[in-house]
Point group: C2
Chain length 265, copies 2
């Protein structure tokens, strides 16, 4: 993978703001052009299986980086990252139950924790917008609609469950261009996995997403479905690990990597 | 454009067979891996407009080569090509009327004739098959179904008219892969222009193509439409030039160029 390891001041300022407790809100539109990442922190005993799960399911789980056990640093993703403090808001889980939504997890830290940072659709949505392709949930100021499908992931150890997809409605010609544009970004979900008839992947009502908000589908548009980073979260949730930390939805790690450097050609 | 200018024996043998009058049938599946091309030969007085038409409409009219006036050679496309003899069967038109379907056009040759060689879908269909994507009309041993649309081309001088598209039915996941695969081949029609609802591009009955044969569309498949090399033929036919030569349908120029070298990445 091409990593841009130069320090980016805008991204670093976001992380320092989160670290200082000054930034506690969502990260959408912060440090434009920089890769944002989903977080899953698991005990070392589960880490090997989860790594294999990501390897087997690269479209929903494009792994950008995995930390050393106990280490809060992620040098591949940015300068001076402390994963315990640099995300604006976390969710802490015990035995599958949400126990806290703190702005820093130093008090919960353990020497056996391994951090997984997974690519996020913000990167390819930026590329879509640069191509004048509509991103409906952004236009409508909603969360992206997400759906559990009947498409199984490839299991690894205890981790298994259905693929979760996000949906963006597009006219056919725009969908063709969106397939081209997002194909360039395999490390942030890549090309769509389906378009058209929702029932073909087990979605019974497109206006009732399982996560996020419904969006309008205009005449002449078809729903286009991408593998979604909520897949690993739902798979982890189903396992009910004795301990786990994730980011709060929309509160991502802002890295120093350039979205444009994620493009493979 | 990357041209492979090495002599290819298989392609050359096809051309020599046509030249000798031994090969008079269609060229599908001859010299696998080599680019085949559509032909339009026009008087010099129309050539500038037609060149501009191709430039303005690169998806239906991807121009691989244009000859010098009066010259039967096409050195960019292959060794020792004589465009007057090297295609198995031609169509000769006067004032828009078909006057002959000879196997060689030396008797019709004029010093002011300019040859246009235009990319053909055989190249991207080969790439689709290499990706295990079904090409229904090949499976069903029919001609590809083609349709006049309500999408206008960009006019140039006397040349104008609707876009003609070819159609291949695919499941959505295969259509996504086909969009990726064919996007690599902009010089042979490239990515599709539409998928799904035929009426959106003015096609009233998918089972009644304007050219070629209808093919089966199976449950779960959507029609996927590519810009088609019949577009320039239909545009030329509408102009009724005082003189014109084309290839007979399916009887293409087999060039020395590699299909794989047409891929842009």
């Amino acid at each position: 993978m091409n990593h841009d390891t130069q320090i980016n001041d805008a991204a670093y300022q976001v992380r320092l703001g989160a670290r200082a407790g000054e930034l506690t809100g969502p990260t959408a539109n912060l440090a434009p052009g920089r890769v944002q990442a989903n977080l899953a922190i698991l005990p070392r005993a589960l880490a090997d299986d989860f790594l294999l799960f990501c390897q087997r399911n690269p479209k929903p789980c494009p792994l950008l980086a995995m930390s050393e056990p106990g280490s809060p640093a992620l040098p591949e993703l940015g300068h001076d990252i402390d994963i315990r403090t640099d995300i604006p808001r976390y969710r802490v889980w015990k035995d599958g139950q949400l126990i806290a939504e703190p702005t820093d997890v130093r008090d919960f830290w353990r020497d056996d924790l391994v951090s997984f940072l997974i690519g996020c659709s913000f990167s390819f949505e930026e590329a879509m917008q640069e191509n004048d392709l509509p991103v409906r949930h952004i236009e409508q100021r909603r969360n992206v609609p997400m759906y559990r499908t009947n498409v199984p992931t490839q299991a690894a150890g205890v981790f298994k469950g259905p693929l979760v997809v996000s949906m963006r409605p597009l006219k056919a010609a725009d969908a063709i261009r969106a397939i081209q544009v997002t194909s360039r970004f395999p490390s942030v979900h890549g090309a769509p996995v389906h378009f058209g008839e929702p029932a073909e992947i087990g979605i019974s009502d497109i206006q009732r997403p399982d996560y996020g908000d419904a969006v309008d589908i205009l005449p002449g548009e078809v729903p286009v479905f991408w593998a979604c980073g909520v897949t690993p979260q739902s798979v982890v949730a189903a396992v009910k690990p004795e301990f786990c930390i994730t980011h709060a939805p929309g509160h991502m790690l802002v890295t120093d990597l350039l979205n444009s450097r994620m493009a493979v050609f």
